[in-house]
């Protein structure tokens, strides 16, 4: 796992604040109800931060953000390098 993915997992753990829930880069987040739409915005912002990409939000569907692995793949697919 990359350092960025690890940072994202830690960020999500802080966000959901659920002791007892263990997360890895393949834990379903959206489909399991662990996070909701307002939290997804926060995750996309974090993803922009970690990847130094600008991610056009209109090109992102919920399934693209369901796991940490999918998030980074989505950033690669639709992101533009930040200035």
């Amino acid at each position: 796992m990359t350092e960025e993915a690890q940072q994202m997992i830690e960020h999500i753990a802080r966000l959901i604040r659920k002791p007892g829930v263990t997360l890895d880069e393949n834990t379903p987040l959206v489909s399991s109800g662990l996070i909701d739409s307002m939290a997804l915005i926060d995750l996309l912002l974090k993803l922009e931060d970690l990847t130094h990409m600008r991610i056009p939000a209109g090109k992102v569907q919920p399934k693209d953000l369901d796991t940490v692995v999918k998030m980074f793949a989505t950033a690669q697919r639709v992101g533009k390098p930040q200035k």
Partner: protein
């Protein structure tokens, strides 16, 4: 206004004047002049005509916010067809909720054509209800051709339907509101005078979705018919980076914008304080708070943050609007004088117990103990009438709180294909808004929703939808669930609080597990998260005489036991 229909109004626009600037990111934007917009709209009309679209056909447009979606809409209107925008699927909308909504709405409209873009997700396609003859069209990308397509367009009588806009509604039951050219033009005429629109100097800013009346009427039809330039960005880009709104307003010297209440807090809070002064908001002459109950504290927060950026207190305004009335019923008075004293929404303090108990507004001094504050949504536009009625239907006088009824010269005639809903909504010519409010001194104040509708981040959530999902959990006593909104001052919008009775008291031992299952189900079904779930033993919820869970009494009991909820501000 002198035009018979909206297309005539568009045709009269100076061809070289910029119309829409779509702001994509810091280094990408697309602009069309009125002339170019007309040409592209005619091109889209030609494509639709080729696919058999004609007068009176419904055309459903499900495209990302932008110029192609708007030219398709205008092109359909040119043919005398009835276009409507539906929300494009995005990461904020839970797929299950989106699919059921899409299926319900498209089935009710029985559209002749459904226009989508090239990137529309394939897994959603199966949920577009298509009649036997209907066509699913992928929008033509790029330019239509250099030559203005020669298509014959029909005469569009003033009383013919111009388009259908959707009102908020329970999941899958969004109601289509068919509006005539005449009704829309009358509304735009009222707005033009009330807002003192000057097409040569005004410039509108918008991030508002086109499938919502604020986005469609105020930020597309109004600029189109009154020839005002508009700069727009996608709602998703705004929600991700609300600070870009400040940049765009400054760059384009925008003068007018509409925002829901929560945005007045969201923008300053999501913009680092060190950058508050970097922008130039001095061009804004009216920033209109519309579509959620207006809260003075939210507007004040925006004003305080951006006064050093040149934002004028006199630019704070409010309006009460709804899809069923095309758009606005009221608008706060706009003073063109250089006077910087706030002329916008009136504000008053009233005795709290009188308001809650007797539904009467008894003004008290600012900051009196137990006082509640209200901010006006403005004065009636010409051609608008409002009545406040009690639960029993009696007409109430000034300062009494009741349901707001509207009658006007731009009111809709009914919900599309839903005579049942129309009969409930329009009685003797009066539209029953379901909103609660009062009039005082010529100002209309909106205080809440009769049906306890929850507004979460600008989105209407019906508590019944949540209650149904929670009730379906095996550990929860069927029907003994109440969902309610609790205003969260830190985000300026409501949070969802649920109280539910378990089947048997011993189930409370596994409360944490049940709560987590309920949360997953609600997010999966509705796309929203619950802030707090209170699981209670059997017989905790207050029942009405009919044996149903009594919402307001249960709410009061919950607040008594959990004062930290601070339900309502």
């Amino acid at each position: 206004m002198q035009f018979r229909n909206l297309i005539e109004a568009l045709d009269a626009a100076p061809p070289g004047r910029p119309f829409i600037t779509a702001w994509i990111d810091e280094d990408e934007r697309a602009t069309v002049t009125f002339g170019e917009f007309r040409r592209r709209a005619r091109g889209q009309a030609a494509v639709l005509r080729k696919h058999g679209v004609t007068v009176g056909d419904r055309v459903v447009i499900i495209m990302p916010q932008g110029i192609p979606a708007m030219t398709t809409f205008a092109g359909a209107m040119m043919l005398g067809a009835e276009p409507t925008f539906l929300a494009y699927p995005n990461f904020k909308i839970e797929p299950a909720k989106y699919r059921s909504g899409l299926a319900g709405v498209t089935a009710n409209l029985s559209a002749k054509a459904v226009v989508i873009d090239e990137e529309f997700p394939d897994d959603m396609l199966g949920h577009v209800a298509l009649e036997a003859e209907a066509k699913l069209l992928r929008a033509e990308s790029g330019r239509v051709g250099d030559r203005e397509p020669e298509i014959e367009t029909p005469r569009l009588p003033a009383d013919s339907v111009a388009f259908i806009q959707h009102s908020a509604g329970t999941t899958g039951l969004q109601k289509g509101v068919a509006l005539t050219h005449a009704a829309v033009l009358r509304q735009l005429g009222h707005l033009s005078r009330a807002l003192k629109i000057d097409a040569s100097t005004d410039h509108i800013y918008s991030w508002l979705p086109l499938y919502h009346d604020m986005g469609l009427i105020a930020c597309f039809m109004l600029p189109m018919a009154l020839h005002v330039p508009v700069v727009m960005q996608s709602p998703l880009d705004w929600v991700m980076h609300p600070e870009t709104m400040l940049q765009i307003i400054g760059e384009h010297k925008c003068t007018l914008a509409w925002l829901p209440n929560f945005a007045f807090q969201f923008v300053p809070r999501r913009t680092p304080q060190s950058r508050w002064t970097q922008y130039d908001l001095s061009s804004i002459r009216a920033l209109i708070n519309c579509s959620e109950p207006v809260r003075a504290s939210s507007m004040l927060e925006f004003q305080t943050a951006f006064a050093p950026a040149g934002f004028k207190a006199s630019a704070l305004h409010s309006s009460y609007a709804m899809a069923e009335n095309v758009f606005a019923v009221t608008q706060s008075e706009i003073d063109q004088s250089e006077n910087d004293w706030p002329t916008g929404p009136a504000r008053l303090w009233a005795d709290g117990p009188q308001f809650r108990g007797a539904h009467q507004i008894v003004p008290v001094g600012e900051g009196s103990s137990g006082a509640v504050s209200f901010t006006s949504s403005g004065r009636l536009l010409p051609g608008q009438e409002v009545r406040i009625v009690s639960d029993a239907g009696a007409i109430l006088g000034e300062s009494y709180v009741g349901e707001i009824l509207v009658r006007s010269d731009c009111l809709f005639n009914g919900y599309y294909n839903r005579p049942d809903l129309t009969a409930q909504a329009i009685v003797d010519g009066w539209y029953h808004t379901g909103d609660l409010g009062f009039s005082l001194g010529g100002e209309l104040y909106v205080v809440g929703r009769k049906k306890d509708l929850l507004i979460i981040g600008g989105e209407n959530i019906y508590p019944q939808d949540i209650e149904e999902i929670v009730s379906a959990h095996p550990a929860v006593h069927d029907g003994r669930v109440i969902a309610m909104g609790a205003y969260n001052p830190s985000v300026g919008t409501e949070d969802i609080v649920v109280v539910a009775e378990v089947e048997r008291e011993e189930l409370l031992a596994s409360a944490a597990e049940i709560e987590s299952e309920i949360r997953s189900r609600v997010v999966a079904g509705m796309g929203v998260a619950i802030r707090t779930i209170f699981l209670k033993p059997p017989k905790w919820i207050v029942k009405s005489t009919a044996g149903k869970a009594a919402r307001s009494a249960t709410r009061e009991k919950l607040v008594r036991e959990h004062p930290e909820l601070g339900v309502d501000s």
